[in-house]
Symmetry: D2
Subunit: 135 residues, 4 copies
């Protein structure tokens, strides 16, 4: 029902930690970067447009499973897909894969809550937003 969108994200040297691979929390920053690109390119509704309507998205929960270590020099694609929209919340599944062979490096989901920008209070995701996201 909801499309899978893909973004290439670059690994930077400052993402590498003492284990000589990408630091575990950076994977989630890669997913965030992919979602931002996809908001602009695929949903045609960048974050500023949400802000202009007094909306904001907060992360309410994250789950991630690490399958393979990422090294500096690896090329990755972040795939995301909305799994469900319910009240103020939207669940987004993600997969980080190696560009060369599509092998899954990590996978998981994020639960986003729509809040009012000024108050920070949760608000039901409006139908026109759901429609925008139903591509």
């Amino acid at each position: 029902m909801y499309s899978v969108f893909e973004s290439e994200v670059s690994i930077r040297p400052d993402d590498i930690d003492m284990n000589n691979h990408v630091h575990n929390t950076k994977y989630l920053d890669y997913v965030l970067a992919a979602r931002y690109e996809q908001m602009v390119r695929d949903y045609k509704m960048p974050m500023e447009e949400f802000h202009n309507l007094d909306y904001n998205w907060f992360v309410s929960a994250t789950y991630i499973e690490y399958k393979r270590a990422l090294m500096l020099g690896d090329k990755i694609i972040v795939k995301t897909q909305i799994s469900s929209v319910n009240g103020a919340q939207s669940k987004v599944n993600f997969w980080i894969v190696k560009k060369e062979n599509e092998k899954i490096v990590a996978e998981g989901y994020l639960i986003y809550t729509m809040v009012l920008l000024k108050s920070g209070r949760p608000v039901r995701i409006p139908d026109e937003i759901i429609k925008k996201y139903s591509v």
Copy 2:
């Protein structure tokens, strides 16, 4: 069965993101910082001792639920407790609470896998390590 250990972790200005609160992935770095302190102070086995025995810990999975936003200036305590040890894996529950009122800011768990430092291959957690952790 396993003790709850506590560490105070400081919030830095560079942890704050465009939403003017602590960036969501930094919460997990606070948990990591707490675990490192607790390895030294509470388990009496710092990471270097694992490395000397050719062992290392990798994060295999993370789950976190965000309950409240953290602001610059907030004081926090990270509490962790081993939930189970099984084969090569150890599950650690965590709670980030405000120091002033013990209100839960975020909670979740991490699944760590013990690997051989050189090969990166998983290895059964040895009994003497389990014993060290059973405090």
Copy 3:
């Protein structure tokens, strides 16, 4: 003329990079953290108070010399001292030293420019701010 203020800053595991020591840009984040603490504790004028007056501080230039590597587990003190105040700009010298022996790990300076919060335009540092800073 201007006092030297000191802050202890904690090194976190996520600050360590592939060279197994503190990543070079993190030293500057430690200085920023020290300045924030000192604004509250020593100058009695936290950043929010500047914001309330429609002021903000931007970093206009940074110089840092690295003398020694910092490791996870090292305890550090960040010392800062205003060197000069001129028009919209303030130059702040800093020294990062090891807590145990006061050996200098890094030193340098930051040039801050006072700007109007809303417009981002530089503004002459008002006399009452200079007075606050002349402790």
Copy 4:
């Protein structure tokens, strides 16, 4: 004498700080990312090749001047040029420019010291490395 090399570097949402623009220390991480790409693509000598020869590069000093704020969505090019090579040290000038109009966002230099990987001790940059870098 030394060529100017260019790399495009992406701005990620987690690079944005409480001022709603790119955090000041991230500019230096962008320069580091550009240098890594240029080591592989332009000097044909990636960091691993240095490591294999028991060499490593440490940052000994950094100077940066900030001219314009960078926003999420901005496209940037990092230009670098070796300025001098002297004993164990190499000075590298850099300019971060906006892709659309070549306007300078920040500029400065880094002083790198060649060290032995195992001991961390400075070592005279060998002639064959200088030759590699003289492109």
